[in-house]
């Protein structure tokens, strides 16, 4: 029960498996030019080469290396997902903190806006945003961040609100502490763990959104990504199933790993709230 955080966290088998896969993906993404020197967009061989037949993962309809696509795709997907999540966490965190801290009318207005963004069909909105801004890495990041911040805002608001009424914060008020000092020194450090957990789980959602967008052809052009590979391979499903299967499995494993790690973080940060 009083085991240190790291032991509790890594000692969980699911977390360990997740961490190992994530480490592989991240290392692969960083080392892409060395471990997959072939340009993912270049024609490198015959089309529709089966896996293990000269190419580890085969080639696609144009003879491009699937392995190169997977490795370079990891780069794109991870980068976009992480940046979009950081944006969503920053914006949602700000909205939530202000809303929860000041309460009253500020809170009312901000929460109405948050509810609004939660109500509208977010994926359709993301499609619209990318379409209107014209597809690029930036517009994909903006679109994902724009549809992902509301849950962060809600969680941070809830935390800040409950901490705001906690007695140690009131004690700081009665000592005459400034608002921003209270917010940053008393409240936010104590609201950090739910923020970290939600943020990490949000990366998984962002990966799913990014791959769905690029599957529909709305991804960043000139960047190979897993969703794009599935979209490009779907027409050849009958004859070259591996073009669709392998990037899909990559997405599945990565999202799964992030979820496992995120939940492990949650259990390790809130040992008492663990469900059996």
């Amino acid at each position: 029960m009083t085991k240190p955080f790291w032991i509790r966290f890594v000692g969980n088998a699911r977390v360990l498996i997740g961490l190992i896969w994530l480490a592989l993906v991240i290392v692969g993404a960083l080392a892409a030019p060395w471990i997959a020197p072939l340009d993912p967009f270049a024609i490198s061989g015959q089309p529709f080469v089966r896996p293990l037949d000269g190419f580890a993962f085969g080639t696609d309809s144009l003879g491009r290396s699937v392995w190169s696509g997977l490795v370079h795709g990891a780069r794109t997907t991870l980068l976009i997902a992480v940046i979009a999540t950081l944006g969503a966490v920053a914006f949602g965190g700000l909205v939530g903190a202000v809303s929860g801290f000041y309460g009253g009318r500020t809170d009312n207005v901000l929460m109405r806006v948050t509810e609004f963004f939660q109500t509208i069909p977010s994926f359709i909105f993301a499609i619209l945003l990318v379409a209107v801004l014209s597809p690029s890495a930036t517009s994909v990041v903006i679109a994902i961040a724009t549809v992902s911040w509301p849950p962060i805002a809600r969680i941070v608001r809830g935390e800040v609100m409950s901490l705001r009424s906690r007695e140690f914060v009131q004690a700081a008020v009665t000592l005459g502490e400034e608002d921003f000092v209270i917010l940053f020194r008393q409240i936010l450090p104590n609201a950090l763990s739910p923020l970290i957990v939600t943020g990490s789980l949000l990366v998984a959602t962002a990966i799913l959104t990014e791959s769905a967008l690029s599957f529909l052809g709305l991804g960043a052009p000139n960047f190979m990504s897993w969703g794009f590979m599935i979209g490009a391979g779907r027409s050849f499903l009958r004859d070259a199933w591996w073009l669709v299967a392998t990037p899909g499995i990559a997405i599945l494993l990565t999202v799964l790993s992030i979820n496992l790690v995120g939940e492990g973080l949650n259990d390790a940060l809130n040992p008492r709230l663990r469900t059996p």
């Binding site: 109500t119 529909l216 499903l237």
Partner: protein, 330 residues
């Protein structure tokens, strides 16, 4: 008495929905402003060669020579009269195009909601009752995996296995058009086409509700009122069925309401994969035709749809939970 108050509650909720709908309209307008070029060229479709007089007509309609606020007013007025404009690419009014595609989407969404909420509640309860048994482990592991799977990929894999390899289900479409089925045969045909898209769209939400239901049932079984029921001499089964289940349903109902918008987004992807002739596929097509007017219309109407479903969910919630006072007691 309660019925009257319920009606008043629904009316209040409808009233509260007005700002949301207006918000979507304003958002649409802002998106038009964001797009490169003026609204007329955007709406006419950048890629297509719309006739110059059509573009002029659009300019007049949107008052593009007038200040932005007047433009917004005109835009609002048009939409509030359900005048969503004309799709030049499809050569017909946007509203008609959308309404034609509405019911396949509703069918897909309805089937998905039933499967995912119903199945999720069932599986969640089964897992919670047998917590830490093989049933729980099987359900939990399956849920964790399904929760991480991209929808469109599941769809393609299902097509690969069940349509291409096994040939059990059709690969695409909503019905066999050349067969000219009628009556019952047509219903069966549509149901046959519905199976794979519904499974695809349901999988993620099934996993979501299963996990939520399992967690809340476990939590509620540890609640004090469950101990009271135990102290009354009830069997564990009776405690779960009579006391825990209804309490555990509340968060699931709330979540189902929150997820309606996402569900609609998911249907875009699924309809594209299965060529299901609904709103999602229409959205995909208009995207490639760069038919923004149609896309904005779809966004507007799907937001309205979400608002309506949310009100239905709120009503269900109120019926389940007596603590919520419906309307104001005077």
């Amino acid at each position: 008495m309660r019925g009257m108050r319920l009606v008043r509650f629904i009316l209040t909720r409808l009233l509260q929905a007005v700002p949301v709908v207006l918000g979507v309209v304003v958002l649409n307008f802002l998106l038009l402003q964001l797009a490169p070029g003026d609204a007329a060229t955007v709406l006419a479709g950048e890629a297509g060669g719309a006739p110059a007089e059509y573009i002029e007509q659009l300019r007049a309609r949107f008052g593009l020579d007038k200040p932005v606020l007047v433009q917004l007013g005109l835009y609002l007025k048009n939409i509030l009269f359900l005048d969503l404009g004309f799709s030049f690419r499809n050569n017909s009014p946007v509203l008609g195009l959308i309404l034609d595609r509405l019911w396949p989407t509703l069918l897909l969404m309805g089937a998905t909601l039933v499967i995912s909420v119903g199945g999720g509640v069932l599986l969640g309860v089964v897992a919670a009752i047998g917590v830490r048994t093989w049933r729980d482990h099987l359900i939990s592991v399956a849920a964790v995996i399904a929760y991480a799977t991209p929808l469109f990929w599941v769809g393609l894999m299902l097509i690969l296995v069940f349509s291409i390899r096994l040939d059990w289900f059709p690969t695409s479409g909503m019905e066999d058009v050349v067969a000219f089925h009628e009556g019952w045969a047509r219903v069966v045909d549509i149901a046959h086409h519905l199976v794979l898209p519904t499974i695809t769209l349901s999988l993620f939400y099934l996993a979501l509700y299963t996990r939520l239901m399992r967690a809340t049932v476990l939590e509620q079984r540890g609640a004090e009122y469950a101990t009271t029921a135990r102290a009354k001499g009830l069997t564990e089964r009776a405690i779960t069925m009579r006391h825990v289940l209804r309490n555990a349903l509340l968060p699931v109902v709330t979540m189902a309401g929150v997820q309606v918008g996402a569900l609609l987004g998911g249907s875009v992807v699924v309809e594209t994969v299965f060529a299901w002739p609904g709103l999602g596929q229409l959205a995909f097509q208009s995207l490639f035709a760069r038919d923004f007017n149609l896309l904005l219309g779809i966004f507007f109407l799907s937001a309205c749809l979400v608002v309506i479903v949310n009100i239905v969910v709120d009503v269900i919630y109120v019926l389940l939970d007596p603590r919520i006072r419906v309307g104001s007691s005077t």
